[in-house]
């Protein structure tokens, strides 16, 4: 019995750990897509944010790392916004190029900074912060209340983004820009500026996602370490139906599906471990089939 309590706690904790960077990036992309921009460059923003966080943390400690990660995400998204929103170039192509460029630049910069051996485990990380009292609850305690501050920040971002999108004039203008650029323009919304700001906010959150990956989850940096998590975040936005709460649920689903491997292993299931690794992606794909049909993407997305 107590064994299952431990497994349950470990499962929950792993799920939350996996979900945190995805949630951050997907929340950012939700804002971006609600404004009518699809940014495939968030994979690049996340990767750049991860390296910047590693370097920042090495130089000035983990909180400098967090700031550096957010800043790097902002810069990458600003480049994307200049090309795709400012100049009006194709968003899919621009996003692909930005991600490709981020792979190249981070690959080079990382060797330059850490040398061929890499940083190993030398990077100062963010410790877990137990929430007194709550963290003592069996299963739920270790699952939810024993994480880095970035996890709590990501959870806090859910209502904040919701409020921003659905309770502020800025959010109303942003959603209008995403649904009908012409309708928004006629109502006095500066569509390009709004979209650029939404894209950059998305970049900051993607950068933070990269930072949380390095500083709270993995503890080191490796070439291409985001391994497509930015793209997964794009899928999570769709699965979460472009709504912060839906995105939270979708990220949690993906985290839980990933963490299931611990449970399966504890159950002694004799399946190749790759099956467990595939599981979250297959699940997401199937869930998309069930979820998407009934909801529309912002009508102006990608235009």
């Amino acid at each position: 019995m107590s064994e299952w309590v431990v497994v349950g706690g470990a499962f929950g904790a792993a799920a939350v750990r996996v979900a945190t960077p995805l949630l951050l990036a997907a929340l950012g992309e939700t804002v971006t897509e609600r404004s009518g921009v699809i940014n495939l460059g968030i994979e690049g923003a996340m990767l750049t944010g991860a390296l910047a966080a590693a370097i920042g943390s090495t130089l000035g400690g983990p909180w400098v790392g967090v700031l550096a990660g957010a800043g790097a995400g902002l810069v990458v998204a600003a480049i994307f916004a200049a090309v795709a929103v400012g100049a009006g170039a194709d968003q899919i192509i621009a996003g692909t190029a930005i991600t490709l460029g981020a792979v190249g630049v981070t690959g080079g910069a990382y060797r330059q900074f850490y040398g061929p051996a890499g940083p190993g485990l030398s990077i100062p990380t963010l410790g877990a912060v137990e929430i007194p009292g709550l963290s003592a609850i069996p299963v739920l305690g270790p699952a939810l209340f024993d994480h880095s501050l970035l996890t709590y920040a990501a959870l806090l971002a859910v209502p904040i983004i919701w409020w921003l999108l659905f309770r502020t004039r800025w959010g109303l203008g942003l959603r209008a820009a995403g649904e009908s650029a012409e309708g928004a323009r006629v109502a006095g919304v500066r569509v390009s500026l709004t979209r650029a700001m939404a894209t950059m906010l998305g970049g900051v959150l993607s950068g933070l996602a990269g930072a949380s990956l390095v500083l709270a989850q993995v503890g080191t940096f490796a070439e291409r370490m985001t391994a497509g998590r930015g793209f997964v975040a794009l899928a999570i936005v769709v699965l979460g139906r472009w709504h912060p709460v839906g995105v939270l649920a979708a990220a949690a689903l993906f985290g839980a599906a990933t963490a299931l491997q611990y449970v399966f292993q504890a159950m002694g299931l004799d399946l190749p471990y790759q099956m467990f690794l595939m599981f979250p992606y297959v699940l997401t794909l199937l869930a998309l089939g069930g979820a998407v049909g009934r909801v529309r993407a912002p009508a102006g997305l990608g235009r």
């Binding site: 959010g171 109303l172 006629v186 109502a187 912002p298």
Partner: protein, 478 residues
């Protein structure tokens, strides 16, 4: 290209000022400048005698100027309340906003349910929402761009009545229109624009419809060709008790419709948008599948779709390519059985000939469709339709947005097709067009067809368009 040259007008409180002109004369551009949507190269805007810098519609709103655009500008996915908040710059707290929008509707006598998404509103209620938006911030100046073009006569009358009440209360109104009757009916003063220049400004009382028309187009109106009635021939389209599901989120489908179209006749359908006419026409064209009923159509058919830029033509492709697309595998320059090889050289030669025949102004058959003016785009669509040698021609709002000359050209070509023995079935939201073009008029309301009696007057047909005693979707319970 210059849209306006030294144009201007002034409107006083309590006055309704009609701005007349053909499509493309610059009426909309002039009002966009007054609403901060477009910047003038020279000149200024004075509001209440004070020069204003209008960099955005927000500035115009602050200066007390509201505008109702030609096409609804509401964001379809947002609710009525959200659309009003967006236009008026109100806070987005739902409960308070709901109450505020409801109060606004009641005060103006234009009630709307705040929680209905804009896309669910009927066309008349969409128009109502546009007016709510324009007046939400207590505008003293109201600019209306062709507000009646999609309304039934009774609805249009109601709208003009509202406009006059607004003026009587001390507001100033500019009413853009290309309908002379509307100007005589509603306006205290008239300004006429032609190709960006003011050609007349004064009181409508001093002018006749003919003289105003001359100011608009610079010459007398081309006389419509006299109607040659001939005995209708064989039945080409036979529809009986036909049901078709609705195509849009609002509006109705087709319910138990029956009609015949014969050789050599032009059948016009008068209806307000969203009453099943699109479903009928597209079913006849073979584009949507009916649920039940009889549908017999003699082929080939040709469809002139309502939206020429997204449904009629591919904007990014050349005229040759667009003609090829519309003619399909039957095009004479598509060869071979399995591969269906396209001889583009031949396609280009034949397209050039077609463009010449239909007097299309373009740099050549290689020009992209997007480069053409609306009138010339429509000529390409018609030319292509006629090249199919259709037995049945189906047209939706065939002259929407066209100037008088281009519209006359389109009408002439449809008449010519009928004279050559085709059956023509068309719909227009502009009742005057139906009255002018059709040999026989059918009226659609709420998905059902009724024949207008021969010799029915404009107002009789107009009354039939609104049906009798029907509730319209989206209207709140009283």
């Amino acid at each position: 290209m210059q849209a306006l040259r030294g144009a201007g007008l002034s409107v006083a409180p309590g006055e309704v000022h009609a701005l007349l002109g053909e499509n493309g004369a610059g009426k909309t551009t002039l009002m966009h400048v007054a609403h901060g949507l477009e910047r003038a190269d020279a000149g200024r805007v004075l509001i209440g005698g004070v020069p204003r810098r209008l960099a955005s519609p927000r500035d115009a709103r602050r200066a007390g100027v509201g505008m109702v655009h030609q096409h609804p500008t509401s964001v379809p996915a947002l609710t009525v309340a959200e659309n009003v908040a967006l236009a008026a710059g109100w806070a987005v707290q739902p409960t308070a906003l709901r109450g505020r929008v409801r109060a606004l509707g009641e005060r103006l006598g234009l009630p709307l349910d705040p929680d209905t998404p804009a896309e669910r509103l009927s066309i008349a209620l969409k128009q109502r929402l546009e007016i709510l938006k324009a007046l939400a911030t207590d505008a003293r100046v109201l600019l209306l761009d062709e507000p009646t073009s999609v309304l039934a006569p009774a609805e249009a009358k109601e709208l003009l009545g509202m406009v006059r009440r607004f003026a009587k209360g001390g507001g100033a109104v500019v009413l853009i229109t290309h309908k002379l009757a509307e100007a005589f009916d509603a306006a205290d003063r008239v300004t006429v624009l032609r190709r960006g220049v003011v050609t007349y400004s004064g009181s409508p009382a001093e002018e006749s419809p003919k003289s105003l028309a001359a100011h608009m187009i610079g010459a007398d109106l081309p006389d419509a060709a006299p109607r040659v009635s001939r005995a209708p021939g064989l039945v080409l389209v036979h529809v009986e008790a036909l049901d078709v599901p609705r195509m849009e989120r609002h509006g109705t489908g087709l319910r138990g419709a029956s009609l015949d179209v014969r050789e050599g006749e032009i059948v016009g359908i008068a209806a307000v948008e969203g009453n099943g006419q699109q479903e009928l026409l597209r079913a006849v064209a073979g584009l949507v599948r009916p649920l039940r009923g009889v549908l017999e159509v003699t082929r080939p058919t040709a469809l002139i779709p309502e939206d020429r830029t997204t449904e009629g033509l591919v904007a990014a492709l050349s005229l040759t390519q667009n003609v090829t697309l519309g003619l399909g595998r039957g095009a004479p320059w598509i060869r071979g059985k399995g591969l269906h090889r396209i001889d583009w050289g031949e396609a280009e030669r034949r397209t050039a000939q077609l463009l010449a025949d239909f007097d299309v102004q373009a740099t050549g058959p290689g020009a992209r469709a997007a480069e053409l003016s609306g009138g010339n785009q429509q000529k390409v669509v018609i030319a292509r339709a006629m090249e199919r040698k259709p037995r049945v021609v189906i047209a939706e709002n065939p002259t929407r947005g066209l100037d008088v000359r281009a519209a006359a050209f389109v009408h002439e070509r449809l008449r010519r097709a009928a004279r050559a023995g085709a059956g023509v079935l068309f719909h227009s939201t502009d009742l005057d067009e139906v009255l002018a073009l059709a040999d026989r008029i059918l009226v659609m309301a709420d998905g059902r067809i009724r024949a207008a009696p021969a010799g029915a007057t404009r107002s009789e047909v107009g009354a039939m368009m609104l049906g009798v005693g029907q509730r319209r979707g989206g209207e709140p319970d009283a």
